[in-house]
Amino acid sequence: MKNFRRDLNIFLRTVRGRSYPRLIGMQREKSWIFFDTFLPLLATTAYVFIYRALNAPPEFTGFVVLGGAMTAYWLNVLWSMATQLYWEKETGNLSLYLIAPTSRMAILLGMALGGMAATTLRAVTVLLLGSLLFDVTFSVENWGALLLVFVLTLVALYGLGMIFASLFLLWGREAWHLAQLFQEPVFLISGFYFPVRNLGFWVSIGASIIPITFGLDAMRQLLYPQAQWGFLDVNIEIAVLALLSVLFLVLAHRMLLWMETLARREGRLTVRGQ
């Protein structure tokens, strides 16, 4: 019991400690407002105008704006979660984390929560500005479900990011290319800019391994209850997202332990420049 309380204390403090740089970093370096919010908003806008050029129905503008907001999370997971342990290794922090009597999961969680909070600010900015600029109106009937979908999507997504973090650490410099490799194709298969069901049933099912796929699809259905663009029933999508959340977190935990054992055995993971 005493041990449990001690471990919990360390766990929570570690989460707090590691999320701090993420939160404060945003505040210290204001240039992100321009690069990470304003510019992506412009890119999202480009997709809005493609639909305008094609005379698409108005809800498509809403689809794009929502997709644009969610890109912030995907980019954050790729560039600040997946590649992070690798960066930590290169700067020498990783070994300092590993010699501390704390949970490695807590360190990743701290990173994730900090990143999530920071990214939410960006996502909300894109969503609000996008909605204002293009007169997007949503007709939400079920706020509870919407919130649930959103939270589950983030949990599963950052869980996936944690799995990537261990994998990318193993792959070293190659991880860089992998992150780049994942970026666009996921924009495609997760349906960031168009309803995912247009990819066909099996591709959509396959794409659902990326939590954003069903997250976006469910949110679109909840934001436009009348439109008929959904892939599966919202409840099914929520169930899948819940499943992915648990699965990814458990897997991430396993991967971390495995990665650490491998690191200690091979002795190359605390060595830089690989």
Partner: protein
């Protein structure tokens, strides 16, 4: 106080698997550590002295749970580093010289605070220890500076401070003064000494390739080369081995056929360096009488004697005596200071 060992190793070894190059079929291995038996007592300041590549860092990585041994066993504070690494981690900390820690965008204070959280320290305790350590390393006036604006030396000092924050039972310092200026090194060394002396039960293992550092600081020193511990004793005892020998340093005009010195009877070890325009010869002799023969040989070789000095034995001489070669020509800032 029980005579429990803070660190204990038995036949500890580590073999690295090297990356296979294209075309090579058999995987290459490198023996970094071999059959290391050592016992460090609680409250001891123990030094590992050896040249670059001797295996010092490898040993520290194993003891700090970053690396698994490929053979043998190690206990830290009585706990097996393979069986229960997490329990080991509660009692230790480590600082590698030449490195920094944390994130450039955080201030010195914030970086250190972040690390205290990984040990579960309350904010009040964390604050106190950070203040204390910043005072020690002389960064108090920089506490609010973002760490990427610190000089390299200051970053190292910040990292040094980090090592003490969790008040570890056993602290590992891997070449802590690497690349630091003389004054800073002095300050850190004094603190290290005080830390072990004034706090009963604290143990410190320090690696270095600076002889004088090991000599000055350590209660006991293990001399390590090519992954093996060659000798382990107090600095005084180690040097006493050479008590009956005579140690001379000669400087001469450039000499060609210096090889012949090792063949002279009575010369136990001999090392030669070419230094800007003259030759430096270091001898360990069985007795002083051999010196005459050496001087003859210098003259016969067409050289002129520039200086002659009889020295007290240093740990370097002990190393030369054990290994038959010196530590190399790099370093040593400490000698400047003397």
């Amino acid at each position: 106080m029980s005579q429990r060992f803070a660190i204990q190793t038995e036949g500890l070894g580590r073999v690295y698997q090297l990356k296979r190059k294209r075309g090579e079929t058999a995987p290459k291995t490198l023996v970094a550590l071999e059959g290391v038996d050592s016992e460090v007592k609680q409250g001891e300041l123990f030094g590992l002295l050896g040249p670059n590549g001797a295996g010092k860092t490898t040993l520290i990585k194993i003891l700090t749970t970053l690396l698994l041994p490929t053979s043998g066993r190690a206990l830290v504070d009585g706990i097996d580093i393979v069986q229960d690494p997490q329990e080991v981690r509660r009692r230790i900390n480590m600082v590698s010289g030449g490195e920094t820690c944390g994130y450039g965008l955080l201030t010195v204070e914030e970086n250190l605070w972040m690390f205290t959280q990984f040990y579960g320290l309350t904010d009040r305790v964390a604050r106190e220890r950070i203040n204390e350590m910043l005072e020690v390393v002389g960064l108090s006036d920089r506490r609010k500076t973002k760490s990427h604006f610190l000089s390299t030396g200051m970053k190292q000092k910040m990292n040094f401070a980090r090592g003490f924050l969790n008040d570890p039972q056993i602290l590992f310092l891997d070449e802590p003064t690497l690349g630091l200026d003389v004054q800073t090194s002095r300050v850190l060394r004094d603190f290290v000494k005080r830390w072990v002396r004034e706090r009963p039960g604290k143990t410190l293992l320090l690696t270095t390739h600076y002889m004088a550092e090991a000599d000055e600081l350590c209660d006991r020193v293990a001399i390590i080369d090519k992954g093996k511990i060659l000798a382990c004793d107090t600095p005084a005892n180690l040097k006493r081995r050479l008590q009956r020998a005579s140690i001379f340093k000669l400087q001469t005009t450039p000499l060609e056929m210096s090889n012949r010195f090792s063949d002279l009877p009575g010369v136990s070890k001999f090392i030669e360096h070419q230094r800007n325009g003259h030759t430096e010869l270091n001898f360990i002799l069985e007795n002083e009488n051999v010196l005459v023969k050496i001087l003859d040989a210098v003259q016969a070789g067409g050289g002129h004697l520039l200086s002659l000095e009889k020295r007290e034995p240093t740990l370097e001489d002990v190393f030369i005596d054990l290994v038959g070669r010196g530590f190399g020509d790099e370093e040593t800032p400490l000698e400047v200071e003397k």
